[in-house]
């Protein structure tokens, strides 16, 4: 059976999920289990002047109350060690955990958390990105210069990290332009919103800790527990039951250490289950708000000669994982175009808001929305068709990326042609109405890779266990690993059992983050499977009296090439071996493309060269109710260069989900804050996800070109890329209908209405080059 003949999607966890019998973390109950509740800061910036937990301790049914005083004195976060598990002296966002309570019921735990007395000296809240950079702004972290940092962290006052991307002399190049178009774009923060709110169950047996948790990154969770509670890795086991979605929102700090510490004190298992409100305010994960100020100089023929930009990115109160945001966002603002000279500066700014962290394609949807809006505005200023303008400037094989990477085979142009042709064909069939338009946006996203391992076992009954450190968060990427192994071994994927959610048995891996599951674990699975296949061939060669290289493995049988009639079953071969067949693979991080030494970037976080970059084009068909500003998206046509598609149904599912999340970001999903940095719409009525009644039809094509440096069978990642381009496409269609640009994201009905009543055009300056 070849890979393409393997059933479209053998979703091993499917029956569990549709029957309701599968267990998610919140479904677990352990004997004697207590329930946790947190006391949050509520005050976004304040100095703790009194913290009295005695009222909670006095309550009947309370089994543990802990604060900063009860855990090791450790500052955490890998990049800037700027926080402690529980608030110490100063609170810096409303959802910061001040204390934790365990009690025999969730209701008592919540009541006890509420009974804790905390008084603050309220400090001025820093909530505006630009004001925070001013000399006179209060500081979010007064003693930041004492924090430990790792790597090349460039920071100052409220600047948590700064990156600058320079190529050529942008000022001089800009002066040679025929037309300079400049504009400002402001994106609100948004949220990942997995439908499962997070849950953690921690249990000690002696000095060994087991944590069941809804994390996307079990090994990262284990590291953080070990780091903050000063435990050896060997005594901590993290198990992830079924995981109800993540989208990055369940990476990073996940409250496992808090619950483990509570369980230690309570001397019984403790369970935490978040409400939706907590899911909004507490985690160190939200999609960062962003300001993009950009100017681009072009020639009349569409040649881009220079781009200059400043980006302000809202980091929130603490460093989650965002030090790479400025560099990555700057590269996105450079765009997938041949942009001549560049001068892009990006500041990641501390504020008294919830920390920002990697949510599905961090920084890209906002930066892409801004730059693709800008791209259409340039085309308008040149009186050029936006598709033609892109066609002339898109990067192609052999072109140079923003940091000097020379692209190998890439399919950006193919994506543009396929998606626009699909949308146009649909519009030819059903002509656009007077309030409708098509809008185009390009997108791109890196392919990340790290080292990974895999174990494989073939049992005497011919079934296989595949053990990896991958984590299934819904994408199906782990499920797809079965297809690779099945192909290597010549067996039905149904015979393969996946073991992937237990740090005690699996080799370490990056988990469900960075679209890496197939790329990393897939490489390891191939090698481990090949090891077993080689053993099968050796055993069969002996039995069939042929050379191992002539042995064909198919349908759980081995035969000699050209003589399929004489075959031997795998079960018999394993029996002959006298023991199960084992494969053990550890694959290294692939080599990234080299960068020219001449590239200059301040605050380089290693984003400069991308392994097998992914390109995409989305085209949205949009209708506008001009009187109210309400926008509906009826169709989205996409084309993705994500390398070889291993599992077509799973791939379509990733694109469709990413597109709908993009529609939400474009139109209805934006977090609102009060003046002190508290979220005002931390609930699903006022933070509006798209419903099935809103969902557009989505038409996807995959551009499968042979990409060097890609993963197994030429696959790249695909979980994040579909979330990049949709908002930009909607923005451009919307602007065509109303003749005005909406400069804030989400482009809510009211913002669309306002854009129609006030001119918000970009500044276009004609420069005399005669």
């Amino acid at each position: 059976m070849s890979l393409t003949e393997i059933p479209a999607f053998a979703r091993a966890d499917g029956p569990d999920k549709v029957s309701g019998l599968g267990r998610y973390t919140a479904d677990l109950t352990l004997t004697g289990m207590a329930h946790a509740a947190f006391r949050y800061a509520d005050v976004p910036h304040g100095r703790i002047v009194e913290l009295d937990t005695s009222p909670a301790r006095a309550m009947s049914g309370v089994v543990a109350v802990i604060t900063d005083a009860d855990v090791p004195d450790i500052y955490l976060s890998a990049e800037i060690a700027d926080r402690t598990l529980f608030a110490r002296d100063v609170v810096r966002y409303e959802g910061e955990v001040v204390a934790a309570v365990a009690a025999v019921t969730p209701e008592i735990a919540r009541a006890a958390a509420a009974a804790i007395v905390v008084r603050y000296e309220v400090l001025p809240a820093v909530t505006d990105i630009e004001a925070a950079l001013g000399e006179n702004s209060p500081l979010v972290h007064e003693s930041w210069d004492s924090y430990a940092t790792s790597g090349d962290v460039v920071r100052d006052r409220n600047t948590a990290m700064r990156s600058e991307l320079h190529r050529g002399d942008a000022d001089a190049a800009m002066a040679t332009a025929d037309v300079v178009v400049s504009g400002r774009y402001v994106a609100d923060a948004s949220h990942a919103v997995p439908i499962e709110p997070r849950a953690v169950v921690a249990e000690w047996q002696g000095d060994h800790l087991t944590v069941h948790t809804s994390t996307q990154v079990p090994f990262d969770a284990r590291s953080r527990i070990c780091e903050t509670l000063e435990l050896p890795t060997s005594r901590v086991r993290v198990i992830v039951p079924h995981l109800g979605g993540g989208f990055g929102g369940k990476c990073g700090a996940h409250f496992e250490p808090h619950i483990a510490a509570l369980a230690k004190v309570a001397k019984r298992p403790v369970k935490l289950v978040f409400s939706r409100y907590e899911e909004f305010i507490a985690p160190d994960r939200r999609r960062e708000g962003m300001i993009v100020d950009v100017a681009t100089g072009v020639k009349h023929d569409g040649t881009i000669v220079a781009r200059a930009a400043w980006l302000g990115i809202d980091n929130g109160a603490y460093m989650a994982d965002a030090t790479f945001f400025p560099q990555l966002a700057a590269m996105h603002v450079a765009g997938p175009y041949r942009t001549g000279s560049l001068k892009i500066e990006a500041d990641l700014v501390y504020t008294n808001r919830q920390p920002s962290g990697s949510v599905r394609a961090p920084t890209a949807p906002q930066a892409c929305w801004a730059i693709e809006s800008h791209t259409d505005e340039i085309a308008v200023a040149l009186d050029m068709d936006p598709i033609e303008f892109r066609r002339r400037n898109l990067v192609a094989t052999g072109d140079v990326g923003p940091m000097g990477q020379v692209y190998d085979e890439i399919g950006a142009l193919e994506c543009l042609e396929l998606a626009t042709a699909s949308a146009q064909a649909s519009a030819d069939q059903k002509p656009l109405g007077p309030d409708e338009a098509l809008g185009v946006s390009m997108g791109w996203w890196p392919t990340f890779a790290v080292a990974a391992g895999a174990f494989a076992k073939m049992h005497a009954d011919g079934t296989v266990q595949l053990v990896t450190g991958g984590q299934e968060c819904g994408t199906g990427a782990v499920m797809t690993l079965r297809n690779l192994a099945a192909d290597e071994l010549g067996i039905d994927p149904e015979l393969i059992e996946l073991v992937y959610q237990d740090t005690a048995v699996a080799p370490e891996g990056p988990g469900a983050s960075g679209s890496q599951t197939l790329l990393n674990h897939g490489r390891a699975v191939e090698v481990a499977s090949q090891q077993i296949a080689a053993q099968l061939r050796e055993l069969a060669a002996d039995h069939l009296e042929a050379a191992p290289e002539d042995i064909v493995l198919a349908e759980s049988k081995a035969s000699v090439a050209g003589a399929p009639a004489a075959s031997v079953a795998f079960t018999e071969l394993v029996e002959r071996a006298g023991a199960e067949l084992l494969g053990t693979a550890s694959v290294e991080m692939p080599e990234y493309p080299e960068l020219p030494t001449s590239s200059t970037c301040i605050g380089d976080q290693g984003m400069g060269a991308w392994l097998a970059p992914q390109f995409s084009c989305h085209v949205a068909r949009v209708a506008v109710d001009r009187d109210t500003g309400v926008v509906r998206v009826s169709e989205v046509h996409t084309a993705h260069d994500s390398g070889t598609i291993i599992n077509l149904m799973g791939a379509h599912g990733q694109v469709e989900g990413g597109v709908l999340m993009g529609v939400g970001q474009a139109l209805t999903e934006g977090t609102r804050y009060d003046d002190e940095g508290r979220q005002r719409n931390a609930g699903l009525l006022e933070y509006k996800l798209q419903t099935i009644a809103d969902a557009p039809s989505i038409h996807t094509q995959f551009v499968e070109i042979a990409t060097p440096n890609a993963g197994p069978r030429g696959a790249k990642g695909l979980a994040e890329a579909p979330n990049v381009a949709t908002a930009g496409a909607i923005a451009n269609a919307l602007a065509k209908v109303i003749g005005q640009r909406v400069r804030e994201l989400p482009m809510t009905a009211e913002r669309v209405w306002r854009a129609q009543t006030a001119d918000q055009s970009s500044t276009t300056t004609e420069q005399d080059q005669s």
Partner: protein
Amino acid sequence: MTLTIATSVDQAIALLASGARPIAGGTDLVVGARQGKAPLPDQLVAIDRIAELAELTSTDSETRIGAGVTHARLMTDGLIIERHTAIADAAALVGSPATRNVGTLGGNVMNGSPAMDTGAPLIVMGAEAELRSADGTRRVTMGDLWTGPGQISARDDELCTSLVIPAGGPGSGSAYVRLEYRRAMEIAVVGAAAAVTLSDGVLTSIRVALTAVAPVIIEIGDLDNLIGGAPDRALHGAVAAAARDQATPISDLRATDEYRRHTIGVMAARAVDAAARRAAGEQIPVPVNRSLGIGAAQ
């Protein structure tokens, strides 16, 4: 706390007199308690199994909708769609299918929210609420019942048993439209109901009421000067202007006062347009929001 499942109006009234609060679908009460807005009352009486409250009856001159009739029934009932189309329009937009299955008209009315969808249709149709207590039965108009946001003039011992609505005459039509950011799971940002009567293409009556632009749902006053005219663009414009003039909206998470004032005019004009078209015999399926693509819905 306790919950008693009542099986008759008399039983429910007796429990209300002793301090219990009524619960039907619980969509307001239980959600409110979960969000910490107000704790659940100490004594509850479930009224969703009282057969009398689920009755929907009619005569030539009026329709009587039991307080326990659900939104799901209102949006599909032939008589309501025929006679009181705006109520069906509104019921079809409430929350989600699950909310519509348990949420009741009486629960809506007695919750007194200025954002309720069924309120404006009840006003423009001249509905009255029938309130029963140990002291007897009385009827109040919607305008007299709703006194402020979440405030009603009914006493705690009074149970709303039904809504009584005069049957519209020949040539009458009604519609409810609302502004919605999504096509489902919405709460009114603003909304408007209209009921009109046409005779030989000329307007002989018009009533328009507005949702979520004042502390209570309000009826637009001084529309009588429009009677005698045609249901044309000028009429829409005049209604929109009157709606904007008489609305006193606030700014909140969902919209600014300025945007509400603008869109209430749009919704009022659209409601009048749809109502007049229905009065002229055009079949516009319920809910008009989805049939006409209000908010570019198609």
